[in-house]
């Protein structure tokens, strides 16, 4: 009897102890040492990173996906070697990135130092005070290469990382939506390069079904890309979803109707299953020779020129989207890299960002993933730009650009817009009804 009670207590005590042990082990999270750090050390090699950060551990939060994650990992490895720091990349699926970052940052003891902050939640994070300003670092001659400053970036892109007059982020990965067309198919059908959306529809109708290829392919799945394409179609007509303050619906019913007519008409010449195609699916279809034209984001189009993924390398030419010949436009897609306000290694974080977004590293990214840097000197690097087949198309599209929406209320609106486009493509709604849906969705701007 006593033995029983005694044993029962032993079990309880053991249980209590093990819970206590759980708590204890978890409390001893590692602190970061800042010994051996000097942010002002000159680079050991040309184009190398600034500073030495021996023993500093940094974490970078981003979405998962290659070649981009792998490319950044290489840059991080080089940075680690040069500075003595240890930067590791935490990549999660894009669709979970916001939640992961928001929850982690809200906890106050976040482990993140550098974050990829998407435009649609940049405003939220900046407002909440999760981001560290970088204005001072950007102006510090000891931490930047000679002549490097805020003025080294394309102003229209750099300004996207500004919140209430303070610079928080450094951009890279400039891209937009362009049209790719198969020169071989166009030639054999006696067609010239498509200059307007009207040409695209006409050519798609002619080429549809020839050589086992559909007329055209573009993203149709509601993952954000449909809204990007639609935004580009609006921009090409000098229209945009909302005003500068981001509170008023400025969508022109006329422009939206023309854009939606194009999307809906084009889908008739698209391969089966368009409405479940994300950017990568559309690019894969085109790369495998199953479409004569493709409307897609430029990073995805890199698949067309990659011999490992494409059966049609070298057969593509690119033009911007335009409704009227000579008046192209496109949505400015870019990435913002920001430093967490709670980071204990802000100097090291800046060192990596400067290193990563500057021309030398961006040239490597560009060649691996066909995106463009955000520095002016990037575009002067003929060796790189000559290898980017759609550079001209991107440049002329971005001569008339609207940046990707960066409003906290945008994700819900975007989903509603994409559903409206899908409904029109499926013939579930008329174009007019779908445009009306978009206006309804834009009422959410004030939420």
């Amino acid at each position: 009897m006593f033995a029983t009670q005694h044993r029962g207590r032993v079990v309880l005590t053991a249980a209590a102890l093990s819970i206590g042990a759980l708590l204890l082990t978890s409390c001893s999270t590692s602190g970061t040492s800042t010994s051996g750090a000097n942010p002002d050390t000159k680079p050991k090699s040309a184009d190398g990173p600034y500073g030495t950060f021996t023993g500093e551990k940094l974490t970078l939060s981003r979405w998962a996906g290659d070649p981009w994650t792998a490319g950044q990992q290489t840059a991080a490895d080089d940075w680690n070697k040069a500075t003595g720091g240890k930067l590791t990349i935490s990549a999660v699926p894009y669709e979970n990135l916001h939640d992961k970052q928001a929850l982690t940052l809200s906890s106050g003891n976040s482990s993140y130092d550098i974050m990829y902050v998407h435009p649609s939640w940049f405003g939220e994070f900046a407002k909440a005070g999760y981001l560290a300003p970088i204005t001072k670092d950007l102006a510090d001659p000891k931490r930047n290469p000679a002549g490097f400053s805020a003025a080294s970036y394309l102003p229209s892109v750099l300004s996207q990382g500004v919140y209430k007059g303070t610079q928080y982020c450094l951009p890279d990965f400039v891209s937009t939506i362009v049209v790719g067309y198969r020169t071989d198919l166009f030639e054999s059908a006696g067609l010239s390069a498509p200059k307007t959306t009207g040409d695209i529809l006409k050519d798609a109708a002619i080429l549809n079904g020839k050589d086992g290829a559909a007329g055209i392919v573009m993203p149709g799945k509601a993952t954000g890309a449909v809204a990007d394409v639609f935004g580009s179609l609006l921009t090409a007509q000098s229209n945009w979803w909302y005003d500068a303050a981001g509170t008023k619906d400025t969508l022109s019913t006329g422009a939206a109707t023309k854009a939606l007519n194009f999307y809906t008409q084009a889908s008739k010449f698209a391969p089966t299953g368009l409405l479940n195609m994300a950017v990568d699916d559309a690019a894969t279809v085109a790369a495998q020779g199953k479409a004569a034209m493709v409307v897609d984001t430029t990073p995805s189009l890199s698949a067309l020129e990659d011999p490992a993924k494409s059966k049609t390398v070298g057969k593509w030419a690119y033009v911007p989207l335009s409704f009227t010949a000579g008046k192209p436009g496109g949505e400015l897609i870019y990435w913002n890299w920001c430093i967490a306000a709670s980071s204990k290694n802000k100097d090291a974080a800046y060192s990596f960002l400067q290193y990563y977004t500057d021309t030398a590293q961006q040239a490597k990214v560009a060649l691996a993933a066909s995106t463009l840097g955000a520095t002016k000197s990037f575009y002067a690097d003929k060796e790189v730009t000559s290898k980017l087949p759609f550079l001209d198309a991107v440049n002329s599209a971005l001569s008339n650009a609207n940046p990707q929406p960066s409003l906290a209320s945008w994700p819900a609106i975007q989903t509603a817009i994409e559903v409206a486009v899908q409904n029109s493509i499926q013939g579930k709604e008329t174009v007019a009804q779908s445009v009306a849906d978009m206006h309804t969705a834009l009422k959410g701007l004030n939420n």
Partner: protein
């Protein structure tokens, strides 16, 4: 069923029937296995051999995809994390669940059926409802991003499974054995610890395997409560399925790497799988 002697004519009809049954099972097995085999085959292909319009059976196999999965994607780390979390939460669930189950099965406690209902109810709570509050809680305890966060989170679904399964295993034991232990001078705890637990250990092993399977496959908690050092296999695989890039070969290889250990375990616990998946058959 087939052992009963039957007249010849009937037997002929019976044989036809049995053959039909074998055919049905064969078709079903094809349907079950072909998708997995396809992905396994794709994992040995280069992209150009995957993207074809007709099934491509002859191709030069490559280990490139696996090299990538274990190389730059560091899948070994995901596997280690998954093993730690699965074993940790299974151990924790057994430590706390087995005594609870024994109490429900054998001991004179009040509200036995209420406990049973509460456990079943806890199986119905959607993970979405738990994950955010749990994040807030673990943050305050500075647990987020540690293995313990995932172990405790996975205990939320493993503990009820342990309780249900072990209860049914304990109930199957003849009570006389434990009563004999009392006569031999053991207390109630002695009867539990020295008689019931050893007798129920095959059931305990089966339960453990099931818990490991559930933990191995769990995604939402693993995603939200982990950090880059503690992410588990499903989180690793999911990074292939984002909307931004597609890598059929690499993701197929990752899927196969994730399936193999769990398939081996599933084989081992096959006999008990039914009981575990139905919460001990809600007694059956």
């Amino acid at each position: 069923m087939t052992a009963i002697p039957q007249p010849k004519r009937k037997r002929a009809r019976r044989d036809a029937w049995v053959i039909a049954c074998y055919v049905v099972i064969a078709i079903f097995l094809v349907w079950v296995l072909v998708p997995v085999i396809t992905v396994a085959v794709n994992s040995f292909k280069v992209p150009s051999a995957i993207f074809t319009s007709t099934p491509q059976l002859s191709f030069t196999p490559t280990l490139e995809n696996y090299a990538k999965v274990f190389g730059e994607l560091n899948f070994a780390q995901y596997l280690v994390n998954s093993v730690l979390v699965a074993f940790g939460s299974t151990a924790l669930s057994l430590i706390f669940g087995v005594p609870f189950a024994y109490a429900l099965a054998r001991l004179p406690i009040r509200g036995r059926e209420w406990w049973a209902r509460i456990i079943l109810f806890s199986r119905m709570v959607p993970a979405v409802a738990l994950v955010v509050p749990m994040f807030v809680l673990f943050n305050q305890l500075h647990l987020t991003g540690t293995y313990w966060a995932l172990i405790l989170a996975h205990t939320t679904f493993n503990l009820p499974i342990v309780i249900w399964m072990m209860r049914s295993f304990f109930e199957e034991l003849p009570p006389e054995l434990e009563e004999a232990a009392l006569v031999d001078g053991a207390g109630r705890f002695g009867a539990f610890w020295r008689v019931a637990v050893p007798l129920a250990s095959p059931g305990m092993a089966a339960t453990a395997v099931l818990c490991i399977i559930f933990s191995w496959n769990e995604f939402l908690f693993a995603l939200v409560l982990s950090n880059q050092d503690t992410e588990t296999v499903p989180v690793g695989v999911s990074s292939f399925i984002g909307s931004v890039s597609i890598d059929w070969g690499g993701s197929s290889a990752a899927a196969i790497v994730a399936i193999i250990p769990i398939f081996i375990l599933g084989f081992a616990a096959q006999r008990f799988l039914v009981r575990g998946l139905t919460f001990g058959g809600v007694k059956g």
